[in-house]
Symmetry: C2
């Protein structure tokens, strides 16, 4: 196959357009850059994760990983379009300063609330209007570690497949169902499916250490970086938990707060399992 | 005072140079941008924090905060040089897209290991070669929340007063002593001062939930984002603790891992206090 070197090649133009959030939303596609994330996306596609591999762009000169090259051969045989491009063109397209030579176009699976099941997805995290893709990615990474089963992105905020979410999640975004929903819709659905909603809020009445156990199915709900949960959002929670804050600053980084809460839940779920 | 509008004004040149890490290191100065962080830096300077206010640049047109304007008047009367500059010039210097109209030049206090005291700074966090200033800032923010008493930056890594550390710390960097040190020097000092070193490592033998209590004075030691603690670094710890990881990814984001550990320590220190 001929190596693409022309910046105005239509495939390269399409690739470049996917750097825009608007185009990602319109097409339902996203970009996955780097060897690790490419391999995770292919794994997810093959083994029932939440991504479909659409096409691959690679620079034979830059891509030194034997494993990545082998995977490109395999997916090509499975019918995925794989385009070799020159190192120079690749570097002009890549986000990374020292690109590893592979970018995949991936179609994340669209998941709706109705696709979730209170028996299987019995532990969810809900983020209201999160603004920082690094936070959303870190939270997905923590959810992978503790075994939480789904992420709800509520009332907008960052896209789930923003390049920085993919990067910070270490690929967990391909393995954890992510649902976009509106707050009231979520609350109705949660009530119908008997989810217990734990809100994280500095206005909470229960300090985290007083939580003896958590019930399932449940949702851990966190507000945006700037505002936390609003009063109406707090009233929709069954319990409001706060973390002790002894210093000058009134809140934690969102991903840190979620991490502390999720590990507390994990510890207390496990205790319960041990007692059964 | 005349409003500076000229890009080649020597004061503006100096200000711009401080965007370079090399110049910050040479001069021992750093930049603090935005109203919140400016006020925190002034507070720290006034009330025994770890920052001295050197000079202030502000745009009378952009700076709408009454409080910030009042503080600028006060510090000017105390002898701090405050330079009004045009909105256009300010925007060309500011990092933020929508600048709030104030940047301060601040001299962080240099703190050495010898300045720390095992009675007062009885709970430290040590980071070996951290690479991400956002992580270091978030960890300082968590340290403020739990009441940890000092940060050790070991064997290089990001500067403590990188603009992104200041931002992510929400100003906590002005209130918590930060010491740069080398690993072996730290270990010797810790031994002499009877610090107990808790290492966070996936190679740890103790799962966090088996930790009944933590002793003081102590240091929570974490490795770099990429590598964690090396084998020799792990052997220098008195106890190695791990967080359960149930998913595909073998580690957490550094700030999340530190947050979970620090809140566990806080909970178990408090229990001990209650029992006394």
């Amino acid at each position: 196959m001929e190596i693409i070197s022309n910046r105005s090649n239509p495939k390269i133009k399409e690739l470049r357009l996917l750097k825009q959030s608007k185009i990602r939303r319109q097409t339902g596609l996203c970009l996955v850059e780097g060897i690790w994330h490419f391999i995770e996306a292919v794994e997810a596609w093959r083994r029932g994760g939440y991504a479909t591999l659409v096409s691959v762009f690679y620079s034979p000169q830059l891509l030194t990983s034997e494993l990545a090259r082998k995977i490109i051969d395999e997916v090509q045989q499975q019918g995925v379009n794989c385009y070799p491009i020159t190192a120079e063109l690749f570097s002009s397209v890549a986000e990374k300063e020292h690109p590893q030579g592979v970018i995949a176009v991936v179609r994340p699976k669209t998941i709706l609330l109705e696709d979730l099941n209170a028996n299987q997805q019995d532990w969810l995290v809900g983020l209201v209007e999160p603004q920082d893709p690094g936070n959303v990615g870190s939270i997905l990474r923590t959810m992978d570690a503790v075994g939480a089963k789904g992420l709800l992105l509520i009332d907008g905020g960052v896209e789930a497949f923003h390049p920085e979410v993919i990067r910070a999640s270490m690929g967990a975004v391909f393995w954890i169902p992510v649902v976009r929903t509106a707050f009231q819709e979520l609350i109705n659905w949660a009530a119908m499916n008997n989810y217990w909603i734990y809100g994280s809020s500095s206005h909470g009445r229960k300090e985290i250490k007083s939580m003896i156990t958590y019930q399932k199915p449940c949702i851990l709900l966190l507000g945006s970086e700037r505002q936390g949960l609003s009063q109406p959002q707090r009233s929709a929670c069954h319990e409001l938990i706060y973390l002790p804050m002894q210093g000058r600053i009134s809140s934690l980084n969102l991903a840190v707060a979620a991490g502390v809460m999720l590990y507390d839940m994990l510890a207390k779920f496990s205790q319960e399992n041990n007692q059964e």
